[in-house]
């Protein structure tokens, strides 16, 4: 391709005029000066925070009554031609909880606008129990606001309308058991400019067996469906080393770890290098089933057998350090979803065929000197790094 003509054409697409001007410089020096005195400004920050709390309180009161009742912008979101229409739920007050939950999940995965979601919530006789501004972010010269809203769906009772749920959030298991609430739904929204987008949804309900179930869906992780855990508030009983490893990842005390923490755990590093010998993880399989967000696993002188690892559904990256994997045979069953494998500091002495048995793998870090036929990996399209 003609390098110069493509360069000129790309530059035409970006813009004929210079993008970098003195205004960028001025803005930088202004920003730099503004951001520099971080700690001496602590009293001012406290004042600003107090002002923010007062203002956000007023804002909350204002928005709480207004959120779904009126369109938030003059752009008439209902008429948005690009919006996907969620399937119309057809709730029946007599139908079992799990059927209602499935219908709500169907609405959520259609990524509805807030007004469409409001229609679904009304159809299911849900009430809003809390609405708050959780965070703000600036980008693009605009302010984007991240909202959290909780809804309660109660069973219809003979004696008339059930009072709105006003207990703690997320609701405890007892609130479901004593009939105060049938389904709890938490939604996270991002609002900016003319759009409001659903970002995350969490459902809580009692199963037919009487277990509290938590299900979570993140819109930006579309390849992942709802993730689910049974009895999320139940404390986790595991070996001290693993509990401490999980605690480091989720920034909690080891004895405060619950099954909910396992559900949202994204990275886990187990470092047993201070122990003599290899530390073999042997825990309840249910805990591994709960680790549905676990994406990155690093094991230093520790090993989790394949039969446990295979219960972690979305594991993407694994690193082994120390004398734990000679030929991957003990772990390969649990590594079929990973795309990245780091064996550079491991005892791996296997073959390219062993590595090629990991069906999703794209990138492997391994010393070519210990894998004589490592070219086979490259031939199969694998990215080999060392």
């Amino acid at each position: 391709m003609d390098h110069q003509r493509i360069k000129e054409a790309i530059n035409r697409q970006i813009g004929e005029d210079p993008l970098f001007t003195d205004r960028d410089k001025e803005r930088f020096y202004k920003n730099k000066l503004k951001r520099r005195p971080r700690f001496p400004a602590a009293p001012k920050i406290v004042t600003v925070l107090l002002a923010f709390i007062v203002l956000s309180g007023s804002f909350y009161t204002f928005i709480k009554t207004d959120w779904f009742e009126q369109p938030s912008s003059p752009t008439q979101e209902e008429k948005d031609p690009t919006e996907e229409t969620p399937p119309a739920p057809d709730p029946d007050p007599e139908e079992p909880t799990h059927v209602k939950v499935e219908k709500l999940k169907e609405v959520i995965t259609s990524i509805p606008s807030k007004s469409k979601m409001k229609v679904a919530i009304d159809q299911f006789k849900g009430t809003e129990v809390e609405f708050k501004l959780a965070d703000t972010e600036s980008a693009d010269g605009k302010e984007y606001e991240l909202y959290e809203s909780y809804y309660a769906f109660a069973r219809r009772i003979e004696s008339g309308n059930q009072p709105a749920y006003d207990g703690p959030l997320p609701p405890p298991k007892e609130a479901f058991e004593n009939g105060e609430i049938e389904i709890s739904m938490k939604l996270n929204w991002v609002e900016g400019g003319e759009r409001v987008l659903l970002n995350e949804a969490t459902l809580l309900y009692l199963s037919e067996e009487g277990d509290l179930i938590e299900e979570n869906y993140k819109v930006h992780e579309r390849e992942r469906n709802f993730i689910k855990v049974k009895n999320p508030n139940e404390p986790v009983v595991m070996d001290d080393l693993i509990l401490r490893s999980i605690a480091r990842s989720v920034d909690k005390e080891p004895d405060a770890i619950t099954k909910r923490d396992l559900l949202y755990l994204e990275e886990l590093t187990i470092n047993a290098s201070h122990l003599s010998g290899i530390y073999e993880v042997d825990e309840d399989i249910e805990y591994f089933k709960a680790m549905q967000s676990l994406f990155v696993l690093k094991l230093n002188q520790a090993i989790i057998p394949g039969e446990l690892l295979k219960e972690v559904p979305y594991l993407d990256q694994a690193t082994f350090v120390g004398p734990t994997v000679d030929d991957l045979s003990r772990v390969k069953e649990g590594l079929q979803t990973i795309t990245y494998l780091n064996l550079i500091n491991s005892s791996f002495r296997g073959t390219a065929e062993d590595i090629l048995e990991l069906k999703s793998l794209n990138i492997v870090r391994v010393d070519p000197a210990v894998v004589p036929n490592y070219e086979d990996l490259q031939f199969e399209g694998m990215d080999v790094r060392w």
Partner: protein, 182 residues
């Protein structure tokens, strides 16, 4: 500036130098990721602040431009992963459908090279970046590998795949295939 390290220049001097020497090319590269001038301005400011703060970590092992480019690319990728980016995409699509002028602009006849440039800007990010850094920033594949933190072999594969995608685009019509095969 033959050797650019924190031992030779203060962070203020370094940022001033980067703005003067590479400001335009950094902003143009940022634009090819985010495709919006306001966002480009904001990200460029973030990049300058990061350069200012991280200057003492620059050890001179890579070229100054490559180092600054890496910071810019990482910041762009963070932005593309954010929910705010998704909200913008939705807004832009909505605007595109509502605004007749926007649509008119898109059907204006273009030169073949402009068609290619537009096709490049519509490639998925990982293929777009190798094309942009090669053609628009005149970077070698080794420099691209360094700036994007990607192995050289992967960059080579992505370049081949990017050309293949452009060829497929040409087959669909609109672009003369000889331009790409040349």
């Amino acid at each position: 500036m033959s050797v650019h390290t924190q031992t030779h220049y203060t962070r203020e001097e370094a940022v001033e130098y980067i703005m003067d020497q590479y400001g335009e090319s950094l902003k143009r590269t940022i634009f090819t990721y985010v495709k919006n001038h306001h966002t480009t301005d904001d990200i460029f400011q973030d990049v300058l602040l990061q350069i200012y703060r991280k200057w003492d970590r620059f050890n001179g092992n890579s070229q100054l431009k490559t180092w600054a480019m890496r910071i810019a690319i990482n910041r762009c990728k963070d932005y593309l992963r954010s929910p705010i980016h998704r909200i913008k995409i939705a807004t832009d699509k909505w605007r595109e459908q509502k605004d007749p002028h926007y649509t008119e602009q898109k059907v204006v006849q273009k030169e073949q090279w402009d068609e290619i440039a537009e096709a490049i800007l519509h490639l998925p990010v990982k293929y777009r970046e190798v094309m942009i850094l090669t053609f628009q920033q005149d970077m070698t594949q080794k420099q691209i590998a360094e700036a994007t933190g990607t192995p050289l072999s992967t960059i080579k594969t992505r370049m081949q795949r990017a050309r293949q995608l452009l060829r497929e685009k040409a087959d669909e019509g609109g672009i003369d295939p000889w331009i790409i095969n040349e």
